[in-house]
């Protein structure tokens, strides 16, 4: 039986179980008139029966599908000749691929060896058997569990509480998915990084000044020594993030102060959404804006001033990234400034302070912790930003503080290391994971600090 059909049948069974459970609960108390004698409303008895009918069966079905492929394969191999079983795992997987292709009809049967053909036939047979077994197991389980609950229905059964427990467990399950995904990603990055650090020492990676991740594939290759000192990447990242913050923090902050304190409601209603549109522009668009407009513009300006500006410069990437982050800073700062209670402003005005004195001496200091938190979040975004720097910052790992030169960043290098055909055990590829780990740790700690700062500030006025 097809899995989709099976699921459909299970759902129909659940619907039937709902009706049966509801009817039975009502029948026990003599129809709708006696419904008040039930612990829960009749629908809950139906729901409880339906959930018990469907959930265990669906869970078993999922588990079955997770494991039946391997079991069937093992059985197929077990039925093949001794020579095949003696093959190395790599060669064995080739043979198995042949068998699977035969099953799928990807290669004509005449081209395969008789043994493969036999194995394929066996494979098909086992698969259909597995499907039938799954169907039988699931349906009987659904019926058994449904019947079990159906028989236990009595007016005193706490059906509503049971249903609510099941729903709560489901909600908890959904909320933990994000946590487990994060943990999974961290673990995989961590293990790949450890593999990298087995080949390249941690100290060389963190403190080395030379970044040139090209490894020699053959012994006679020249110019591909493979140097994994990530310091130029870190400085490049910090340089670009620094330029971005120099643009975003003052502009965003002043925009927020204007919007929160000075702007009339009608002006605010126009400007605030427009600033937020800036946040909606895809970063790739900012990227080519930086590469095609800002970069050349800076180079020409530099030339006319007698400065040597690389066409892919840290300045271009940083400026555009700063513009991208403006709405982020301004919207957070705006929230923080608006959160300062009006009584603070009244108190200051009541003492004869002007509006600008009030903003500078009362409102801004009061909002400062929150604003600092927002700026930290913005920095972590600037560090993690990829598209703009890939397109506008260049690839040369220059160790420089000159914003007019091309620099490269951690994110850019991760992209270049992983794009294209790669072996997954060369240090070149594994370096990307180590860089990812550093990036993750940096943004994670920034985010934690920022959230702490913001939270502490919020408590102040509650």
């Amino acid at each position: 039986m097809q899995t989709s059909t099976l699921v459909l049948v299970l759902l129909i069974l659940a619907a039937v179980a709902y009706r049966a459970g509801r009817m039975r609960s009502l029948a026990l108390v003599g129809g709708l008139k006696g419904a008040s004698k039930l612990h829960s409303r009749p629908g809950y008895y139906g729901l409880l029966t339906a959930l018990w009918c469907a959930i265990p069966a669906l869970l078993v079905l999922g588990l079955w599908h997770a494991f039946d492929g391997r079991i069937v394969t093992d059985l197929v191999i077990g039925g093949m000749s001794a020579e095949v079983q003696a093959l190395t795992p790599d060669q064995l997987s080739l043979v198995l691929n042949d068998v699977r292709n035969l099953v799928a009809g990807a290669i004509p049967a005449e081209m395969a060896s008789p043994e493969a053909r036999a194995a394929a036939a066996r494979y098909v047979e086992l698969q259909s058997l597995s499907g039938l077994a799954a169907a039988a197991l699931c349906l009987s389980l659904a019926l058994a569990a449904g019947a079990f609950v159906w028989l236990r229905i009595s007016p005193s059964l706490r059906a509503r509480n049971n249903v609510e427990t099941i729903v709560r467990v489901a909600l908890i399950g959904c909320s933990t998915i994000a946590i487990f995904t994060t943990i999974g990603i961290v673990i995989s990055v961590l293990f790949e990084s450890i593999r990298f650090f087995r080949q390249v020492p941690v100290t060389e990676f963190l403190f080395g000044l030379q970044w040139s991740p090209q490894m020699a594939i053959r012994a006679d290759q020249v110019g591909s020594s493979g140097a994994f000192g990530a310091v130029p990447l870190f400085t490049g990242t910090l340089l670009i993030a620094g330029i971005a913050m120099l643009v975003a923090v003052p502009v965003g902050l002043f925009a927020a102060i204007y919007l929160a304190e000075y702007a009339r409601r009608r002006v605010r209603a126009v400007i605030k959404p427009m600033l937020e549109v800036l946040a909606g522009i895809p970063t790739v668009v900012y990227g080519f804006f930086a590469a095609l407009v800002v970069g050349p513009l800076l180079r020409e300006t530099g030339e006319s001033l007698g400065l040597a500006v690389a066409s892919e410069s840290a300045l271009a990437a940083g400026l555009v990234m700063g513009i991208m982050i403006i709405p982020f800073v301004s919207s957070l700062a705006d929230d923080m400034i608006t959160a300062v209670p009006q009584s603070m402003r009244d108190g200051s005005y009541g003492l004869g302070a002007t509006q600008s004195e009030t903003i500078r001496r009362v409102v801004f200091p009061a909002a400062l912790p929150g604003i600092v938190g927002g700026v930290l979040l913005a920095i972590s975004r600037a560090i993690g930003e990829t598209m703009i720097v890939v397109m506008a910052a260049g690839l040369g790992a220059n160790l420089t503080a000159n914003p007019l030169e091309a620099v490269t960043t951690v994110t850019t290098q991760i992209v270049t290391l992983l794009v294209g055909d790669q072996e997954f055990d060369s240090p070149k590829t594994l370096a990307a994971f180590a860089l990812g780990l550093v990036l993750f740790l940096a943004t994670l700690s920034l985010n934690i600090i920022a959230l702490q700062v913001v939270r502490r500030y919020r408590e102040q006025y509650e």
Partner: protein, 290 residues
Amino acid sequence: MATVPSDMARRTGGSLPDGGVQLDRSESAHRTVGDITAKNPVLVCRSVNVFYGDKHAIRDVNLDIAHNQVISMIGPSGCGKSTFLRCLNRLNDTIPTAKVTGSISLDGQDIYDKRQDPVQLRARVGMVFQKPNPFPKSVYENVAYGPRIHGLAGDRTELDEIVQTSLQRAGLWAEVKDRLDAPGTALSGGQQQRLCIARTIAVNPEVILMDEPCSALDPIATARIEDLIDELQQNYAICIVTHSMQQAARVSQRTAYFHLGDLIEVGSTDQIFTNPRHKLTEDYITGRFG
């Protein structure tokens, strides 16, 4: 002595402001019972009307406020007493939809005159709010805030002196002299309110407006503030808005009763509480509504 130019009173008296805003009720504003004038007035209010958008919050109020005297403003919630108070230092200016007409003069100068800077005015008419609102700064900085922005102190010693005298006059010095660097928000509610009073008198105003200054405080802290008001009266004119009639009776010499934006009755506190002349005043102070 201040007198309001009569033409100014006529200009705005009882009439609608331009823009054709409609009155909430068809009949014209109520005529206040009692003597609205006072000897030795510091603030003279004539035909004051306040509009919040379309809402006519204060109608044609005439009232004098005298030097070295406490006047309390009572009335049911929403009667406009706080709104009226906020007219006296033009704090209503910070509300975009608010519009004030009529004339209010401080020592003979119209405070709503175009040449009058509201910022300077507020230094002369200080305000204490319902909820203590110390700035998130140290006790010292809270009191020094006003003198600093107005440049009242030439150097640090002068500033220290102003801070100390203000805290002393607010009766807070003994409690905070060892922790002037502690945040003002860390004090108790009553201390915070006295800190706000110290902050207000540090700029040396002529009038102190108090908007329900004790409504967030416990009875002991309230008693301390009331004692303080008695002392401050020697140097300042004080207007206090209060919901507690006992408090009005305890601290004030004159009482004004507001009702739905009208000033119903003004008189000496004794007379208002023992022998109210208007039916609404009587109903309110005998607890029939409000």
